[in-house]
Every structure is written in structure tokens, then in C-alpha cells.
Symmetry: C2
Subunit: 234 residues, 2 copies
DNA sequence: ACCTGAACACCGTTCAAGT
DNA sequence: ACCTGAACACCGTTCAAGT
């Protein structure tokens, strides 16, 4: 809408790391700590400055703006995901599965990443490394041309689309297990006119939400992999 | 982390709509206009107040806080999605497909919804209506018990996970087609060390990104539906 | 080369006060 | 019952000035 130019940290030459003062790595590390502790809304340039014993605006020497900082921490997330190299796995499904589990695990471990992933262009070195490995895995599986990308995107889309709501649910619960009961009651009340929904609500006891989510992930993942495999033989 | 209580508009009795002054509907409508025009960041209580010729803080009489307002507009999004009733379709795949296309279309039409969907508990009447219809569709397909939910969730996860990055890409481009070329160049430069990625980059010409995305969606959707169908026969 | 503080233009939200 | 304005505690970012 606004005629803003597209820009990204990855398109600018980084400032040569002379390292007398602060460094980008140090800043990114501190930012991740803040994010893990206080979430996406808890990260402000001022707080981050304070954490580094720096003036509120010193960071602007290392980073053009907050968005760039987020691009940097975002790439760290991709760095924590594992895509086993093809030699280590027997077939592509194993690689794909391992990646999917790892991606979900990383997002759940850094819930703030759910607000970044998919919303920030993934052009950092770690993100590209993952994309490259995934690409090779699906090529090895037998996909050709653009379908290599389609297959990889389908897999990550599933993980993303499953995990974001999981994080949202966790945050809504805000670590207050007492509340689960009250929310449940509210959902049940809201579902009053929907017998199909109520029926299922009653099947899962409050305690097993974690388990239910794991089953749902396994179910969906198997479906996605089956579906991709089907595309391979036709 | 903070011991916040879970709360939602849908759990509070709405204020009786006496309608001398403003009404919730009016506010929600204005909020959506603002959102469509200026995006998620463009919506502020002050701006919305101004748009309604009201003091900046008048809205707090109708809505507990901004989050509640967002829950309200969020449910409107679900209201725009269509799930054809089973009588109208020949089999469940047709229903599922129609819903998936509709969901994607709605999100692309209201890009700001990408920042809400999956991140806000979907407990509004429209969201529940969609969930109920989807539930019936997958039940009709032959799924049983919790698998009805798993199947529906897998489908929406795919749509969500595919569409969020699409929106992100659109926003990054910010309507400036000139930039597409420059971004492409940057991506290519960044991908220098990844021959597999470069190979594919060159296959798709700048102009066809829309088309490529549509193909990718069709590909992934077919895979997901095949995968779900496979779960049905075993 | 690096860091600072003041300043600007914003936020969401509370609350006493008005009609 | 509804609306207001002032006030509070925040934001991101710019920029002239310091060392």
C-alpha cells in the first residue's frame, strides 16, 4: 500500500566486525534471551539497550532498525533446525519427518518465533542452508523441477500451520493450568449450537491436550507424506 | 510466563445493544475498513476513534481492550469463508477443496488477517460455524472420533501455512513491482552457495510468481487430500 | 569509530469528570 | 448510559553532539 522499498539485512554488507565495542553476535544473543524470557512484545530497543548496558539508541549503529534485528534473530531459529543429510537416512520420508519434528520442536521452544516464521522473508544463511538441504532431499526422492519446491513448501506449510495455533493456545493458557478448565467450559458453552463439535470436545479429557496435539501432528504429517509420495508415482 | 488469565470477548455477555450511541457492529465495520486500508499496524484505538468521530477512548465502553476488538474483526474473517453444505457437493473432497480455496482467498483479500489467524483463539460464532461444517464434512467422509478433527486441522494447517508466507511476500513487495527484480537479484546472490536453490530460481521467471503460487497451492492441496483419503481406507 | 540524550510522533489504557 | 480529556507508561527512530 505504502510505496515502501523492499529491504532486508541480508542485502546490505554487514559492517566490518572490528569488535572494539559491541558486536552483532552479542546483540543478537541478548535479543534472543530477551525474546525467550519475555516474548515478542517484550523485546524493545530500549530494554535490549539496557540489557547490554548501553544507551537506548546505541544499537542503531549496528542495525538499521528493529526489523533488521528481527531478521537476524529469525535466522538463528533456522539454525536450530536439523535436516539430516541424506547419507544418514534410509529414504526421503525419514529426512522429511525428522525435519518436520525438529521444526515444530524449535518453534515450541522459542514461541516468539511463531510470530516471525513465515512472516519475515527467510533469506539468512541458516534459512538458505535448510532450504538447500530440503531441496536435495526432495530431489533425491524423485521430484523434479518446480515440484521439488512445491513438495518442500507443502511440508513446511503443514508444520507452520499446525504449530502456530499450538503456540497461540499455549500463550492463551499463559502457564495457568487452572484456566484450562474455565476455557474448556467456555468453549463448550460457545459450541452449544454445534453438536458435532461438542461430541468431540467430550472425547478428549482436559489433561491430554499435549498428547492429543502430538497425535494430531503425527496424523497430519503421515497424511502429508503419503500425499507427497502419491505425487511421485503418478 | 506472566500469570495472566485467559479471557476472550466470547466469554463475556455482550452489553445489551440499546443503540442510542455507537454499536459494536458499527465499530467492527469501521475497524475492518481501517484494517483493509492500512493493515494490522494501521489500526489504533485513536485512529479508529477519529474515524467514528469519537474521542480516542470512547471505544472502551464497547470493548474491554484492543485484543477484544481484534477478536471481533477476526470472527468476521471466518464469516467470509464458505464451506459448501454436503448436499451441494458430490463428495467430501469437493467440500474440502472449496473450503481451502475460499480460506486462501479470504486471507489474501484481507492480508491483515494473516497476523490474526491461528494466533487468536477462534471461538466466535462464525469460526464455530465453519468448524462445525468442516466437522460434518469429514465425518461424512468416513473419519471417526478425534480423527475428524485431525483431518480438518491438517487441511486448515496447510492453507494457513501456505498463505501466511504468500501474504508476507506480497507485503514485502509492497505493491512495487520494480522491486521484484531487485529482490530476485538479492536472493540469487544470497543463494550463491546453494546450487540446488539457484537452479530452481532460474526456472521461474519473475512475472509468474502469482501463477507459480497458484500451482504450488494446487499441488499441495491435492497432496494433502490424497494423504487424508489414504488414512480413510487403511 | 562508536555512543549518548533529548526530542518527536506515536502507542494502549485508566480514570475522574462531565452530560 | 454514554462520552470526554488529561495523564501515565510505554514505543521506534532521528539527529546533533560528544569522545
Amino acid at each position: 500500500m505504502t510505496g515502501k522499498q523492499f529491504s532486508s539485512v541480508w542485502m546490505r554488507e554487514p559492517r566490518p566486525a572490528r569488535t572494539p565495542g559491541r558486536s552483532r553476535e552479542e546483540i543478537v544473543r541478548a535479543a534472543m534471551e530477551l525474546l525467550d524470557a519475555e516474548g515478542l512484545d517484550g523485546l524493545s530497543m530500549r530494554k535490549l539497550g539496557a540489557k547490554l548496558d548501553a544507551g537506548a539508541t546505541s544499537l542503531y549503529w549496528y542495525v538499521a532498525n528493529k526489523h533488521e534485528l528481527l531478521e537476524l534473530v529469525y535466522d538463528e531459529i533456522w539454525g536450530e533446525m536439523t535436516v539430516p543429510p541424506p547419507e544418514e537416512t534410509k529414504w526421503w520420508r525419514q529426512t522429511a519427518r525428522a525435519f518436520a519434528l525438529s521444526m515444530r520442536e524449535v518453534i515450541l521452544r522459542h514461541p516468539w518465533s511463531a510470530g516471525l516464521i513465515g512472516r519475515t522473508p527467510a533469506l539468512g544463511p541458516n534459512a538458505l542452508e535448510v532450504a538447500g538441504r530440503l531441496s536435495r532431499a526432495f530431489k533425491g526422492a524423485g521430484f523434479r523441477g518446480l515440484e521439488i519446491d512445491y513438495a518442500a513448501s507443502t511440508l513446511t506449510a503443514f508444520v507452520l500451520g499446525t504449530t502456530i495455533p499450538e503456540v497461540a493456545y499455549n500463550e492463551a493458557m499463559a502457564e495457568d493450568p487452572l484456566d484450562e478448565e474455565s476455557m474448556r467450559a467456555a468453549v463448550e458453552r460457545a459450541s452449544a449450537g454445534h453438536p458435532d463439535l461438542l461430541e468431540r470436545l467430550r472425547e478428549s479429557k482436559p489433561a491430554d491436550t499435549t498428547e492429543v496435539r502430538e497425535m494430531m501432528f503425527a496424523f497430519g504429517l503421515a497424511a502429508v507424506l503419503d500425499g507427497l509420495e502419491a505425487r511421485l508415482t503418478t
